[in-house]
Symmetry: C2
Subunit: 458 residues, 2 copies
Amino acid sequence: MRHLLLTLLFPSLFWAQKVQQINNDSIFIRSVYDEALLRGKAYEDLRELCKNVGHRLTGSAEAAMAVKWSEEKMKSYGFDQVYLQAIKVPHWERGNTESAWYTDSDGALHKLHILALGGSISTNGLLNAPLIEFKTFESLKKAKRKDIEGKIVFINQEMDAAQIQTFKAYGGCYPIRGEGAIESSKLGAVGVIIRSLGMPEDDFPHTGSMKYDSTVSKIPAAAISTHDAETLSKEINKGKVKLYMELDCRLFPDADSYNVIAEMKGNKSNEIITFGGHLDSWDTGEGAHDDGAGVIHCLEALRILKTLKYEPVHTLRVVFFMNEENGNMGGKTYASWSKNNGEIQYAALESDRGGFAPRGFGVDGNSEQVNHLKSFESLFNTYDLDQWGKGGGGVDIGPLKDYFPSIPLYGFIPDSQRYFDFHHAPSDVFENVNKRELELGAAAISSFIYLIDTHPRD
Amino acid sequence: MRHLLLTLLFPSLFWAQKVQQINNDSIFIRSVYDEALLRGKAYEDLRELCKNVGHRLTGSAEAAMAVKWSEEKMKSYGFDQVYLQAIKVPHWERGNTESAWYTDSDGALHKLHILALGGSISTNGLLNAPLIEFKTFESLKKAKRKDIEGKIVFINQEMDAAQIQTFKAYGGCYPIRGEGAIESSKLGAVGVIIRSLGMPEDDFPHTGSMKYDSTVSKIPAAAISTHDAETLSKEINKGKVKLYMELDCRLFPDADSYNVIAEMKGNKSNEIITFGGHLDSWDTGEGAHDDGAGVIHCLEALRILKTLKYEPVHTLRVVFFMNEENGNMGGKTYASWSKNNGEIQYAALESDRGGFAPRGFGVDGNSEQVNHLKSFESLFNTYDLDQWGKGGGGVDIGPLKDYFPSIPLYGFIPDSQRYFDFHHAPSDVFENVNKRELELGAAAISSFIYLIDTHPRD
């Protein structure tokens, strides 16, 4: 009889607690969304960052301005602690001159929409040479030196539009931007231009990081717009084309810069939940989606938790990382600094996929961590978040894994369809961020941080 | 022993068939998406409709042009049959003059961004009267006649931004546009202006349908932009405000128009799967999302099936309905015509929620029809479609239920977040439709039509 009572009583107590927890979570999440959608600051904060600061490449005056702006904005929200973390960063500039055109087989001149790739050397005045086109990166690698020597290589590989996830299409072309100059130089080219890693056919060139290799000589590298790539390819089919290009890029000594950090102290103050994005951007457009949206998502997520008088279990720490785009010195420095300080990194989340309508969260972690993540899914049924599973992480939080091997690295997943319209391009401006989509992202992240803070993983 | 063999053998045969079907479906759906994303016509077709025809209100010259354009476009794709279905439609025009301004308590003049509501009467010259504001429609209904008589009513109710599904927020304000003139006139108002049913705060007024009532006199009705509504409200708080408004709207006799129809004949040729959107739009912008995207989705869906040499079980019929916005004569005529012709309407689908990233499909139907719909979900796991359940239908296909009570009415569900930025506003232009998002919608619909055609519901 006593046994029967216990089995009857305890399950019901257990379930009662469970139901109560679900109710509490639901109510809290609803209040997070109300704050974000009815009294949100995200959109105006992003407007300030984009319009009052603008693009902000590591080492630039604008990057320094962005650090100052971020620190002051965080302080205005009255978090427990706001501070800068000093880092050393590379300092590359594209300079003042960035022009290219070609003459077609009739000698007529066509100007190109062009951006030097980040890290490219200068052309040292006007470079001109015959152009040779490769439709794929693989066909370049198989080419003969005699066909390429003394020429400028044009790699015209399209992103694969048939990929449903645009990040997969980006992944397929990413090595072209990174290693196009090395592979071209190996075969004697004097320069390289690539078709922009952009999804639509339009006039915006997309820049991004590139590498050199100590074994071959450095050659200038740039991206042209997808529309120019189409037109240029047609002209090459008609006859010989000569390219003229002037890039004025310069590399300066490493500079001083900062990660910018805000915290709400938790009961377990030495156990940290890190969440953030990167404050730096490429030096074109306004870094609105990449990654203005990400840093503002996380700032707003913390602001909402503070506004709702949430009392964290762990210390909630927003980090605006510096230098994601060309070195990741912010992410690397942060991870080692945290380890050296004897902190425990309990979890980390990154938002670096733009400010689009939220679709879900992923985790780079073990199966228990994946199951823990999935246990939150039903709470978001009415919030249109339906992608929960393996995947996630981010460049900035990646180095934490080296020091804290069991840390789950979460990634915020917005819809990916429009991201490569804007990524690293002059079109990545505030006007291309939708207010509601941005706010819903901040609400999703704030709710998610609350859940991982309150629901033990064991 | 024989029994054991049977149970072992038949399940495996059953499962082998099942697996084969799933494989076939997966391969076919992949080929549909490839055609849409790599060789799609949707984006250029929508560009033509938006740029060469433009907005196309029922009864207008542009609506007639749109009918012609659609017929020729359908014929160019070589479907089995393309034809027009004659209907009688209302013909209202906003006329040439549409101006409003107010004087604030200091006598200073402020111009308003305004659009007459569809169906409004003219002001017969310049109307001017004191303005009285109501923050909600309910507060207007409770107001006293003496406070309203001889005034222009201003209903300044916001769409509820806290709703996650923007269509719910729209539903909450929809009666204001429909019945605002009736309720204001009951209390003696001489005119009514409403805050636009638009989600963001901007300068675009949003028009839409409205009603009159035979029991009270007709008064002119218009919508002002959300930004103007905010500013105007502040001025009213400061002191008395007088509104000046001139609308030149006219109602003409009913006109001749057409639904435009294309078919691929099925093996069961008299059993019809109807899918479409509406060809008419409001007379502002270009009707790009509402509902250019919807008709192009369905046209492209059929084009893809024809291109892939699909042999339909049922007759696949795309209908570009006329007059969804202010009368639904297209939908009503089509349903009764189909019944009178002795057809069996096997299923119907509508796309009328814009050309945004696809989220899933809903069905207005019984629990078996819902389960049948849900059985397709797993086929779309890798296509980011995760909303499958009850809901759906559409204005144009709605009347089919009156004649074919057991018909499932499907609705295509794209992401809703940006829809009410553009709906019925000058901003609903081609440039605000994303190519990939549009193409993914067409691919989803084409795949879905294939599935409901090939998978029996019983």
